[in-house]
Symmetry: C2
Subunit: 252 residues, 2 copies
């Protein structure tokens, strides 16, 4: 098992068969990411009540599929998922990767049906948040309402970042940006910002970044030659984070 998984593995998430997880939002160590809001403890208790902690999702299993009836949004507890749309001519477009503490499924609210599919890239666990309950609770708890408005707004700004990346940046810049993004998201979860295992394949990376697998491979090779990072299959070690930032060309 990888270092990455081992670090997560000591979490409560890995009790696949227990019906009553001892987890709740109050003691979850991801709540700083997932719920960065000043909820009163009784508020958190109320939130806990509507959240369902599901059994693990196996690798390649779907959490939901495009056009499924929309019921819930999901917070990642452990593992990683990718969201993707299937284009009209049958190809796939990866629209995002979701790490522990991050929330997915909000694109389904607009039409009461999921606008994308979500698939586990490794064994993962999620908290299911039924949206109708969330709505009701939000009218009672202004800070929760605000939190969800902010979460959705953040999703918008992140999508706009990706739009800019796809529209204006070279292959080198795109891959470097993704590596930096994963690095900072790891750091937020108190994991190493410089050493990690990529949960996704080169195909997924290329698809997400609008590049072919071959180009992604070549960029990784180039980065290694420049001593920015070392790549051993999916194991990444960032060796020169400033150099990587320079390559990403995103300022500072």
């Amino acid at each position: 098992m990888s270092i990455h998984l081992a670090n997560i593995g000591d979490d409560e998430a890995y009790k696949p068969c227990a019906h009553d997880y001892q987890t709740n939002c109050g003691n979850c160590r991801l709540n700083a990411i997932c719920l960065p809001l000043a909820l009163e403890s009784e508020d958190i208790a109320q939130l806990d009540e509507i959240i369902q902690r599901s059994k693990p999702i196996q690798k390649n299993q779907h959490l939901y599929r495009e056009e499924d009836n929309f019921q819930s949004v999901y917070a990642v507890r452990s593992g990683t998922l990718k969201a993707y749309k299937t284009t009209d001519d049958g190809r796939e477009q990866v629209t995002g990767f979701y790490f522990p503490g991050e929330i997915l499924g909000m694109d389904g609210i607009a039409n009461n049906s999921h606008a994308s599919s979500a698939k586990a890239l490794e064994t993962s666990a999620v908290c299911e948040i039924p949206f109708s309950s969330l709505e009701k609770l939000s009218t009672l708890m202004p800070s929760l309402q605000r939190h969800f408005f902010q979460l959705m707004s953040r999703e918008i700004t992140e999508d706009q970042q990706l739009i800019t990346l796809l529209s204006k940046n070279s292959a080198d810049e795109r891959v470097a940006s993704l590596m930096l993004s994963i690095s900072t998201r790891n750091a937020r979860r108190k994991l190493s910002a410089t050493q990690f295992r990529l949960p996704m394949s080169r195909v997924d990376i290329g698809n997400y970044l609008g590049l072919t697998v071959e180009t992604v491979s070549r960029v990784f090779s180039r980065m290694q030659k420049m001593d920015l990072l070392s790549v051993d299959n999916k194991e990444i070690e960032i060796k020169d984070i400033q150099g990587l930032r320079d390559m990403a060309n995103l300022g500072s």
Copy 2:
């Protein structure tokens, strides 16, 4: 004055100096787009009270700038605006065009500061919706809360569409898609789906679609040669909408 503006011009929006517009959400002919929800008439009256109808914005004037303090979201009453981000190396990325009935500014909620700038492409009028009032009202009116969740979700799905377009589609497909998008958005407002004036420059189109001006020009020329549409500067007439759909390659 163009056909497009003339059609809008009979609207109440064009009373630049009046302090008391006779407009309200109840009688606004855009409310089917802007508020497609079953609000009770007294609810609409409440909403009306928080909405401020501002004086027109002149062409090239900003509605807000990136990093401005976020206070409000805006509904376009007349005219057109573009939203854009300035990348770290100083270039511009157009992230969206906003037509009457559409809402912009929601990307500012996440960080209480606008994540993009908004500039009028022609003389325009907007309804300003102070967000804090909207939040308060939303806790009292579940249907309004739901509406805004849906609006934001729609913004997410549209951004994802653009991501896919940029990542997977050719120049022809991108331009054709934009023309079709403008066409359907015109139709929603009971304007012609086949004849309209583009409010934005070729530069803006290219920027939005991740293409250079030259490429956009060439695509327009190609489309004319194929008799899909006729272009006279900014005046567009779609002559073969099915042909255009085929070119866009987005299915049906």
